[in-house]
């Protein structure tokens, strides 16, 4: 990255910190500095975003320390951690957190694996590659809400496609979304359908950026195609995998839309409750604003825990 070089050159040109320059000159330098002159460009979006994101998070945090519930306005006179204590002691919170974890890990790893497989499949000289890639990626263009409807129908216990296959194979029909033991797996499967194309695109881009001579070298060595991929190519996709994994996890954290749209109700199918659905239910259905805010804060911490290592990783690589 060229970041550092340019930073130094531009700054030294306007650096006002030398001794002996009076304050007017300093001010002039300052006002003419790139920082000030570029500030309208990044400043306005930053203020809008800052108020919404950080103001929102701060306000949410403040509410989570109160006992705000129901219709009356929140009172900030006595603040404590009661809501967090209540959440940790609450069984539905623990169940939601656990299912959230399963969804996060299951969905992300399966999507990554399938995405990598599809990318290799398409990367290895195939006709109509562009068209096929477009179709594999098509579900990405749909909203969670629409995907939920398609899969609600696929999973329908009566005449759904999956049960038609299952019964054709001689098994009993399965209540995919109704049985709490498999509902979460069914949800993960539907989400993988929607997003594995995304992982594929990221890996394809990664594969295409690798120099061709590596494939050639491997061929000269006599390595089989599979071996070439497993030993030489895949390890080089680390960067792409990390990026794709982070984005997929964020999709998983936003799975609220999907779960709500399946039942059209605050309570998702049994066994698929996650922190996002629990939070919205507590706050907006039951009016437990402070409790909902506390759950939201913990959800936020969870996503920060996901991305902090990523940002540090990126920073170390010098690609921030």
């Amino acid at each position: 990255m060229t970041t550092h070089d340019t930073t130094e050159t531009t700054e030294s040109a306007v650096d006002p910190s030398e001794e002996g320059i009076d304050w007017q000159t300093k001010l002039r330098y300052f006002l003419n500095s790139d920082f000030v002159r570029s500030s309208p460009y990044w400043g306005i979006p930053f203020i809008i975003m800052g108020i919404a994101v950080y103001g929102g998070i701060g306000y949410n945090l403040a509410i989570s320390f109160t006992d705000y519930a129901g219709i009356a306005r929140p009172s900030f006179s006595s603040l404590d951690l009661e809501m967090y204590r209540r959440a940790l002691a609450d069984e539905s919170f623990r169940a939601a957190a656990f299912q959230n974890f399963v969804l996060l890990v299951g969905f992300t790893s399966i999507s990554l694996g399938l995405g990598l497989f599809l990318a290799v499949l398409l990367d290895y000289g195939i006709r109509y590659k562009e068209t096929i890639q477009t179709i594999y990626l098509l579900p990405m263009a749909l909203s969670f809400v629409v995907t939920a409807q398609l899969w609600l129908w696929m999973y329908s216990p009566g005449n759904g496609v999956l049960n038609i296959f299952v019964t054709a194979l001689g098994f009993d029909s399965i209540d995919w979304l109704g049985d709490p033991r498999i509902a979460l797996a069914a949800v993960i499967f539907a989400l993988v359908w929607q997003f594995s194309g995304y992982a594929m695109v990221v890996f394809l881009a990664g594969l295409q950026s690798l120099p061709d001579d590596q494939f050639e070298a491997a061929k000269v060595d006599g390595a089989s195609t599979t071996k070439t991929y497993v030993r030489i190519i895949v390890p080089q996709l680390k960067q792409a995998s990390v990026g794709a994994a982070v984005v997929l996890m964020l999709f998983a954290l936003k799975a609220f839309d999907f779960l709500y749209a399946i039942t059209g109700n605050y309570r998702p199918p049994n066994g698929t409750d996650i922190l996002a659905t629990l939070m919205v239910r507590e706050a907006f259905q039951y009016g437990q604003w402070a409790y909902g805010a506390a759950i939201a804060t913990m959800l936020l911490l969870l996503s920060l825990a996901v991305i902090a290592p990523y940002l540090i990783f990126q920073h170390r690589q010098g690609s921030l």
């Binding site: 219709i71 069984e91 033991r181 109700n265 259905q285």
Partner: protein, 427 residues
Amino acid sequence: MVENDKLTNGLDRRTYLGGIAAGAVAGLAGCTDSEDDGLEVLHGWTGGDGAAAIETLIEAFEEEHSDIDGTFEPVGGDGNVELNTAVLQRLTNENPMSSFANWPGNNLKRYEGVLMDLEEDVWEAEGLKEDMQERAVELCTYNDKMPAVPIGSHRMNNLFYNTAAFDEAGIDAESLESMSDLMDALETIDQDTDYIPFAHGMRSAFLGLQTWVQILSSQSGVDAYTDFIEGDGDRDAVIDALETLREIQQNYISDDASSIGYTQAAQKLIAGEAACIHGGNWQYGMYRSDDYDFEFGEDWDWIPFPGTEGTYFYHLDSFVVPDDNPSSEETIEWQKFIGTAEAQVEFNNLKGSVPLRTDIEPDELTDFLAMTYEDLLDSEEYPPTLAHGLAVEPKQQNDCEGAIGDHFMDPYDADAAADALLDAVSK
């Protein structure tokens, strides 16, 4: 009137802010003063018998008060979940409507502090305290205010059955006097016929909870139930009832039960797939709808839920009025109208519930409802319903539903469910 002062003293927020914006942006200040929000009523009767009943009620009201311009909005279904949420949102957003349909009693805790008192303007002005059943008067009183007027009561402890199914299995419904009688009958139907013995919907937890309440009262007596809602439940009785519920849910319900709701379950009786169903008697409103050829006394019949004869499990629908009302005068007219004999008869005849006024001639009601109405006036006990807001506070009710939803929707964990239930009502 008190409310008039309020209206003139405090401009309502919408008009005020609207004025500022219009004045500032378009120089139109003053044009918005004429904005009168009019009567706005929210209710949850979106389809079928409920929709027909509220339509009739609205027509009758508009006929009598042609000067009042009212909007009536149906919101959602599913045991008032969407309606309650919409009302909560609107009130939290300081954007109240004129009146909304809701359960009174403990349910009013949701709207604590923002309800209007109708005691003087409606209850006393109309003499409703004398005309309404005492129990309804009590339930419509909350924190020494009377913010609600009752419209109808459903009986909760019913068993509706398909006569053909019972005949085929050789069961005499009248002879079912206890929970174990019912379980035997379900077993017989399961063995001897192709009917689904017990129609049941498990998509949301409230029906499981409601059924559990009936089983508890049937097996261990109504006292066991009232002890429970007072936070003093007997754990063994609670578990016994859960075990029976498990037995029903594991053996006698349809395969798709976990993905269907209550109304779809009820359809199974009409469709001739199921032998019986438990539920409030809105079922009756549904079955007598013109869409189906399904006659009371012939195709289907009714008994009190076995083991609960002489008890009327009490449910109450009412219209509740928030404070800072956008249309106080019209709202009061509407609430007065709700209490009239005409409104109560017209609405309930279609809805399948019964009037709360004690001065209704039974022959103004349909046969089935006349029978229920007599039970309403003359039963031994009237325990309040748990799944419909009367027995406990909303938070406790939610926790009870959660107890069933989390631990008792297959896989079943009776111990955990019992602990969660007892814990829910003890707080």
